[in-house]
Amino acid sequence: MLTQYLFVFAQVHDEFRIPELQSVAEIYGFDIKLPDNPEDRKTARPFMVLGLESEEHAKLLARRCVLIKYVCEFYARGRTYEELHQQNRIRAPQWQKYADDTSFKFLVTAFNHTIPQWRQRDVVESFAYMDFQGKIDMKNPEITLACFEEYRDKHGTTRPKDEGDGEFEEVWFGRLIETGSARPLVKKFDVKKRAYYGNTSMEAEMSLLMANQTLAAPGKLVYDPFAGTGSMAYTTAHFGALFFGSDIDGRQMRGKVKPPGIIRAAAQYGVANGIMDLLTFDVTQNPWRCGELFDAIVTDPPYGVRAGAKRLGRKNARPPTEEAPRVHVPRPDDQPYIPPTRPYELSELARDLVLLARYMLRPRGRLVFFLPTVTEEYKEVDIEAMLCGGMEVVANSLQDFGSWGRRLITIRKTTDKKFPPPTFDPAHAVTENVGSHVPAHKDFREKYFQGFKKGDIGGSDSEQQ
C-alpha cells in the first residue's frame, strides 16, 4: 500500500527535480509514484504529492535530495480552507492516533507571501476540530503539523504589506516528517569558501545535483575525464564514492602550492581519502588498461567560453608523409615537455564521451555530463544523435540562461556486452542513429561569441582539420 507524502521543493532548477528524486530512489532501491494528474506533476510549483511505500523512504529522499525543503505525511489540500478541512476530516484515521497525548506544534507558512502573525493564529485555531489534547511544545514537539499556503508569484511589483493576504491559489496540510537535510550542503560546498577553485569551477548546488545523478554511494568508482579544479570530486566523495580525475592540463588539478589543490579542497571537506587518484593525460589518448572499470563518469566538459577543450595534436596537422618523427629535445628537469594541443570541437567531444562511457562503464553505470546548447536551435534529436547502441537517456534537464542553456544529460549503459575502446577519430564519426544530423551544440563556442545570431558560422572549419 502506498502512502501519500507532501513534498515541498526549493523552487530552483525545476527540470532537475524529478530526475533527482528518481536517482535517489534508485540508489536505495525503491519506487516513487508520481501524481496521476499531469497538472500536479508540473514543476513550476513547489508542492508535489508522491506515493511511497514507507515513511523511511520519504526520510531517505529528504536526506539526499538537494532540492527538497520539507517532507510531510500528506493529509489535505484545497482551494479554500473549507475544502482543506473537509478533506482533512476524511483523513482522520491517519492523524487521530496523535490526538490523545502527543505533544505538537503548528507551522503555518506561505510560498511567495508572508502570512501576518494574527492570521497564523487564526489558521491554527481553524484546526480545533482535530481536538489535539497533547501539550503544545514549540521547542521539541513529538509532531509538527504543517500548513502551506501557495500564492502566485508577485515578483517585480511593489505593494503594501500583507496585500492579497489569504488570496492563495491552494493550501496544503500534513504532518512534517523531515526537513531536507541535503539542502544545507549547498552552503557547505560553496565555491567561494573552498580552499581551491578556478574560474570554471561548478557551482555547489549543481555539483551536488550531478553527484546524485551519478548514484554516488560508498564503494562506487566515479571518473571525471575533464576534472579541472575537481568540482565533481568533492560532492561525489561526500556521498562515499571513490573519485578518479584526469585532465590534459595538470596545472588545473595542482594549483600553485603543495599539496595539489584538489587534495587541499578535499581535505577541507574531510573527503581527501575519497580521491583515488588524479592523473594528467588527454582522454583521447588515455592509458586505461581495460574497460568496465567505473560505476559512473561525470563531467562538465569545457565548451570553449571560459575554457576550451583541448586534445593532443596540432591545429594544422603536418602531412603524414613526414620522415621518422624527431625525438623531442630533452629539457632541464624543472621544464617538463609540454606536447602541442589542438581544439576539441564540442559535438565531437560529446559523441566521443558517450562511446568512452560505453567502454569504461560497468553495466547499468551512468554517464552524467553538461552539454551547452543554443536554446532556439535545440532539438531532441541533438541528444539522440549522439547515442550509440546500449546507451539510453535517463534524464535531460535544462538550466536556462536565456538565449543559451546547458543540459545535464544522464545516460545509462543498458547492456553487458563488451565494446572496444573508442578510436576518438573524427573520420569515424558516423553516428548509428541519425546519420549526419548537425546538432545545435556544434561549434557552440563560435555561436556564443557571435551572440547566437542566425546564419553562417564562419571560421570553424579550419579549426577542425
Binding site: P218, G219, L221, L242, F244, S246, I248, G250, M253, R254, K258, P259, P260, I263, N273, I275, M276, D277, L278, L279, T280, F281, D282, Q285, N286, P287, W288, R289, C290, E292, L293, L312, G313, R314, P325, R326, V327, H328, P336, Y337, I338, P339, P340
Partner: protein, 123 residues
C-alpha cells in the same frame, strides 16, 4: 597518490606500444602510507578487474610482501585487509613509471602521474 589500484589499471598507451606494455615499472619512488576506509564489498567487486601478478610484483617493488603469489580462492577477512592495504594505502608520491616495452618514462610529481604522450607517440 598513485595507489597500486591505479597502477594496476594503467598501461603504456604510446603509439604502437601494444604488447608487454603492462605493468609499468616503478623507478626512484618515494612512498607514503595513509590509512583508508575499509570496504569489503568494494574489494570483492574490484578483484575480477585486477591483474593479480602485476599487483603482487608492484607491491614487492615497493617493499610490501604481504600478498601471496597466487590469488587465493577464499576471500577471508585477513586476506581482504591485506589487499585493502596494498591497493589503497600505499601512495607513490614521487618517482616515475616506466614502460617495460618502449621505455617511455611517466614521471610522478606530487602524487600526480604525467601520462601525456609526446607528439610522435600519438596515433
Amino acid at each position: 597518490m598513485v595507489r597500486l589500484i591505479t597502477h594496476n589499471i594503467l598501461a603504456c598507451h604510446a603509439k604502437g606500444c601494444t604488447t608487454n606494455n603492462f605493468p609499468l615499472q616503478f623507478q626512484d619512488v618515494s612512498i607514503e602510507l595513509r590509512e583508508a576506509e575499509f570496504n569489503a564489498d568494494f574489494l570483492r567487486g574490484f578483484l575480477p578487474r585486477l591483474e593479480w601478478a602485476a599487483l603482487v610484483s608492484a607491491a614487492r617493488q615497493l617493499g610490501d610482501t604481504s600478498l601471496p603469489e597466487q590469488q587465493p580462492e577464499m576471500l577471508d577477512d585477513e586476506f581482504l585487509q591485506k589487499l585493502h592495504h596494498v591497493l589503497l594505502e600505499i601512495h607513490v608520491e614521487e618517482g616515475a613509471m616506466v614502460c617495460p616495452n618502449c621505455k617511455h618514462v611517466y614521471p610522478i610529481s606530487n602524487g600526480i602521474p604525467n601520462m601525456l604522450l609526446a607528439e610522435h607517440e600519438i596515433g
